[in-house]
């Protein structure tokens, strides 16, 4: 196998792996949101559950669009970095816009449930690092 073939094979393997990682990240975020929503429903009713889901989903939707931008490939480190920073900026803008809409539109919003869903979803995205380590071990 030539050097170019090796490089292409490595790139395609890493693309598949990054897809797995991003999927795992979104999956973990949705699970965390659902768990918080169930707890919120039990503690303070249906509106709290809807608030928790909306908080978690706003982060998950932002992360979904960000992952689409972050998956763009380039051989230059600077271009990769710019893409990642663009993805993060898009994520933050989407989250802020969705939260603003939720606070303005949903009158029966339970703020603490929304914050709990948001926090769980944002923090659990990092748990996909475990999947990253496993795929690296498999390679």
């Amino acid at each position: 196998m030539t050097e170019e073939q090796k490089s292409a094979s490595s790139l395609s393997t890493s693309i598949i792996d990054s897809n797995k990682i991003f999927n795992k990240m979104l999956q973990l975020q949705l699970i965390a949101t659902l768990v918080v929503a169930v707890i919120a429903v039990i503690v303070s009713g249906a509106h709290a559950g809807v608030s928790a889901i909306s908080g978690g989903l706003s982060v998950a939707i932002g992360a979904f669009f960000a992952s689409k931008i972050a998956q763009r490939r380039s051989k230059e480190a600077a271009t990769v970095l710019v893409n990642l920073l663009k993805a993060e900026a898009v994520k933050i803008v989407i989250i802020i816009v969705l939260l603003f809409i939720m606070f303005k539109v949903y009158k029966q919003l339970v703020p603490f449930a929304l914050i709990a869903g948001l926090a769980a979803s944002a923090l659990f995205s990092g748990a996909a690092m475990s999947k990253l380590d496993k795929t690296e071990l498999e390679i």
């Binding site: 992360a63 992952s67 970095l81 993060e88 603003f100 944002a122």
Partner: protein, 90 residues
């Protein structure tokens, strides 16, 4: 009335601090991580695709505190629990 104005004023200051300090912390963290990424990419350019996923996940983790701060700030801006206590008492 004066108590309400005071609460609103201090809440405004608090919101500014939450967002400002959160953004400053996140930016410092992202700056350090991006510098390390560029250094790693310069040493081993073939590792860029592997590092890309890790950097994205860590960006999310670093920004999590800022995003939570923004959520809290929005809660204080749109549904201030401190203000509702005073209005309920009146």
């Amino acid at each position: 009335m004066e108590a309400l104005a005071l609460i609103q004023a201090y809440t405004g200051v608090g919101i500014g601090l939450i967002i400002g300090l959160g953004a400053a912390g996140a930016c410092i963290g992202i700056g350090i991580m991006c510098a390390s990424f560029l250094e790693g990419a310069a040493r081993q350019p073939e590792m860029i695709p592997q590092l890309q996923g890790k950097v994205f996940l860590l960006l999310g983790l670093i920004d999590a505190s800022f995003i939570i701060g923004v959520g809290l700030a929005m809660m204080f801006a749109f549904a201030n629990p401190l203000l509702s206590v005073v209005t309920a008492a009146n």
